[in-house]
Amino acid sequence: MTTGYVPILILAAMAGAFAVLSLAASALLRPKHPLPAKSAPYECGIEPIRLPQSERFPVKFYVVAMLFIIFDIETIFLFPWAVAFRSLGLFGLVEMIVFIGLVFVAYVYVWQKGGLEWEKPEQARRELSARFVPLPPSVERSPGDRITREPAAVESGAG
C-alpha cells in the first residue's frame, strides 16, 4: 500500500532539492557588485515604502477585497456552468439564477449600507484639506513625489 506513495516522496525530494540547489548555485556563481539601489526591495517601479511604519493602512481596502472575492467566486462558478450549460439544461439554469440572485441580494445590501462608497464626500474633502496642502509649483518634483504632501514635510522642505 505504501509503495504507491514512493513517487510522491521522490517528487517532493526533487522539488526541495531544486529549490535549494538553484538558490545555492546562483549565490555561488553570480557576480557580486552590491549597490544600495540594488538591495532595495523592488516594487513594480513604485518608490518602496514601508507601509506599517510610515502610514496606516485604510481598513476600507479590506471591504473592497472581500467584495472582490465574492464576485470573483461568482465568476468562477459561472465559467464551468457556461461550459456545461447544454448538458445541465433547465435545472442548471434555475440553479444558476438562484445563485446569482443570492449574490445580487448581497450586492444590494452592501450598496445600501454604503460599502461601495470609499468615503462620504464632504467628510473626504474636509479630511483632505486638513491633512494635505498642494506642493508649490516651483518645487521640482522627482518621479517618486506625489502632488500633495503633508504640511510638515512641505515646511521642512522649504526651510
Binding site: G89, L90, F91, E95, L102, V105, V108, Y109, Q112, K113
Partner: protein, 507 residues
C-alpha cells in the same frame, strides 16, 4: 451541482425531474426570511427593531410548522441524491432548535434595546445560524454536515463579536473563530480520510463500505477519530473545550444563550447520526475514545466550574460538563442511549438558555453585575426572577422533580444497560460535584444579604428591584424554559412518547 455531488458520493444518481425539496423546506424558509430581513434593514435604515424581530419570529414559526408537517413524511428516506435525510429524528431536533432560536430572539430584542446595539444584521445572522443548525440534523452526507457546520459557525463567530466596541466581545469572537477554523480543518481531514477508506462521503455508503471491510482499517479509524475531534470542538468536550468559557463570557449574553443551547443540540444530532449510524460497524473501536471523552468532560467541566467567580464562565463550564453527560448517552450507542441523549438534548437547551437568560436579565447594560456576589440577596430584590433561576439551576444540577433529573437518570440507565457502569459512576460523582456550584448560587440568592459596596450596589449591578425592569419579553424568555423543565420533569412520558419514533435514525 447537487447531481454531480450525488454521483461522486455514491448516492443514487439524481433524475432532474424528481428533485424533492420538501425535506429541506424549513431551511429554505429560514434562509428566505433571513434574506428578506437583511434587505428590509438595508432598504429602510431607520429604526424599526420590532419589525425585524417580529419578521424573524414569523419565519421561525413558519419553519417550525413546516417541520411539523414533515413528521408524517412518507417519501424516500433520503432526498437530493442521498444528501439529506427525511426522518422524524430531524423533525424532533429541528423543533428543539427552532424553539431555542425563538426564545433567543425574545432575549435579543431586550438585550439589543438596552445595550443600544440595534443593528439590522443581528437577526439575519441568527436566522442563518439557525438554518445551519437545522440542516445539520438532517445531513445524510458528510459534505452536508460540513456545509451546515460552517454556516452555523460563521454566523456565530460574527454574533459573538456583535458588541465589537466591548473589547471582550471582539476577543471572544477572535478566539472562537481561530479555534473553530482549526476544528473545521480536523473535521474536513476526517471527511477526506473517510472518503479514502470507503470511497464515499455518504453516511449510508460509509456504513455499507465498512460492514464488508476486511483487512486493515487504519484509514477508517483515523477518519472516525478526526471526525470525533471536530465534533468534540463543536460540543465543547474536554480536551477541546478551551474556547467555550472565553467565547461564552465575551459574547453578548443573548448570543451566549443561543449558542450554548443551539450549537450543542445541532452538533450532537450530527454526532449521533454520524457515529451511531455511519461508523456503527466500527463501534468497538470508537467507543473507548468517546468513553474517555465523556468521562473527562464530565469531571473537568464540573471541577473547573467550582473555581469560577463569573456567572457566565461558571455556566460555560457547566455546559461543558453537560456535554459529557450527553456523551454518556452517545457512548451507550444503543437505542436506549440515543433516546436518552435525545431527551437530554431536548431539556438541556431549555435549562441553559433559561439560565443565561436570567443572567442577561439580571446584568445591567454593558454586561455588568456578572460576578457571583452580585447574586447575593437577589430573592429579596426580585423574587420571581430568583425563583426561575433557582428552578433552572436545580434542573441543571439534576435534582427531582425537574427534567434535568430525568435526563441524567435516562443517560446513566442507558450506559449501565450497555455495560458501562464505571462511566455511570463517574457521571454520578461528577454531578455531585456539580451540584455544589449550582446550589451555591441558590444559597447566595436566598440566604445572603445583598452586597452593598459603598452604596454603589444599584449602579454596579445595573439592576433595580422593580419587576418592570426585567421586561415582559425577557421574562417570557426565561419563564417558558423554566416551565418546560418542570413539565418534562413531572411528565417525562410526553417527551419519551414522541421519542419512541423520533429516535429511529433512518438513512
Amino acid at each position: 451541482m447537487l447531481s454531480v455531488l450525488g454521483q461522486v458520493s455514491g448516492g443514487p444518481a439524481v433524475a432532474h425531474g424528481k428533485l424533492l425539496f420538501r425535506p429541506i423546506g424549513p431551511e429554505l424558509i429560514l434562509v428566505g426570511v433571513a434574506l428578506a430581513v437583511m434587505l428590509l434593514d438595508a432598504g429602510y435604515p431607520e429604526r424599526h427593531h420590532a419589525t425585524l424581530a417580529l419578521l424573524s419570529l414569523a419565519g421561525l414559526a413558519a419553519a417550525a410548522a413546516y417541520s411539523l408537517s414533515l413528521w408524517s413524511w412518507t417519501g424516500p428516506t433520503t432526498v437530493l441524491g442521498g444528501m439529506v435525510a427525511a426522518d422524524r429524528f430531524t423533525v424532533f431536533f429541528r423543533l428543539v432548535i427552532l424553539g431555542v432560536a425563538a426564545l433567543a430572539v425574545l432575549l435579543s430584542y431586550q438585550y439589543l434595546e438596552r445595550a443600544d446595539e440595534v443593528r439590522g444584521e443581528y437577526y439575519p445572522l441568527l436566522l442563518f445560524a439557525t438554518a445551519g443548525m437545522t440542516l445539520i440534523t438532517a445531513a445524510a452526507d458528510l459534505i452536508v454536515v460540513f456545509l451546515a457546520l460552517e454556516v452555523l459557525s460563521l454566523s456565530l463567530y460574527l454574533l459573538t463579536g456583535f458588541s465589537f466596541r466591548r473589547l471582550a466581545s471582539a476577543e471572544a469572537s477572535m478566539k472562537y473563530f481561530l479555534l473553530g477554523a482549526f476544528s473545521s480543518a480536523f473535521f474536513l481531514y476526517g471527511i477526506a480520510l473517510a472518503y479514502g477508506a470507503t470511497g464515499t462521503t455518504n453516511l449510508a455508503g460509509i456504513a455499507h463500505g465498512l460492514t464488508g471491510q476486511v483487512g486493515p482499517l487504519s484509514l477508517a479509524l483515523a477518519a472516525s477519530g478526526l471526525l470525533a475531534v471536530g465534533f468534540g470542538f463543536k460540543v465543547a468536550a474536554v480536551p477541546f473545550h478551551m474556547w467555550a468559557p472565553d467565547a461564552y463570557q465575551g459574547a453578548p449574553t443573548c448570543v451566549t444563550a443561543f449558542m450554548s443551547a443551539g450549537t450543542k443540540v445541532a452538533a450532537f444530532a450530527a454526532f449521533l447520526r454520524v457515529f451511531d449510524v455511519a461508523f456503527s460497524p466500527l463501534i468497538w473501536d470508537w467507543k473507548p475514545f468517546v468513553w474517555i471523552l465523556a468521562a473527562l468532560t464530565m469531571v473537568v467541566g464540573s471541577v473547573l466550574a467550582i473555581a469560577q467567580s463569573d456567572v457566565k464562565r461558571m455556566l460555560a463550564y457547566s455546559s461543558v460538563a453537560h456535554a459529557g453527560f450527553i456523551l454518556v448517552g452517545v457512548t451507550a450507542a444503543s437505542h436506549a442511549g440515543i433516546q436518552a441523549a435525545m431527551f437530554y438534548l431536548a431539556v438541556y437547551p431549555a435549562m441553559i438558555l433559561g439560565a443565561f437568560g436570567v443572567v442577561m436579565v439580571v446584568s445591567g447594560r454593558g454586561e455588568r453585575g456578572l460576578t457571583l456576589s452580585s447574586y447575593a440577596g437577589l430573592a429579596r430584590r426580585s423574587p420571581l426572577v430568583a425563583a426561575v433561576l433557582a428552578l433552572l439551576l436545580l434542573s441543571l444540577a439534576g435534582i427531582p422533580p425537574t427534567a434535568g433529573f430525568i435526563a441524567k437518570v435516562a443517560v446513566f440507565t442507558a450506559a449501565i444497560q450497555s455495560g458501562h457502569w464505571p462511566l455511570a459512576l463517574v457521571g454520578v460523582l461528577a454531578s455531585v460535584v456539580a451540584a455544589f456550584f449550582y446550589l451555591r448560587v441558590i444559597v447566595l440568592m436566598y440566604m445572603q444579604e445583598p452586597v452593598i459596596a459603598g452604596g454603589q450596589r444599584e449602579a454596579e449591578t445595573g439592576f433595580d428591584a422593580e419587576p418592570g425592569a426585567v421586561g415582559s419579553l425577557g421574562f417570557v424568555a426565561i419563564a417558558v424554559p423554566a416551565l418546560l423543565t418542570l413539565i418534562f420533569g413531572v411528565f417525562p412520558g410526553i417527551l419519551f412518547g414522541v421519542l419512541k419514533s423520533a429516535s429511529i435514525i433512518r438513512f
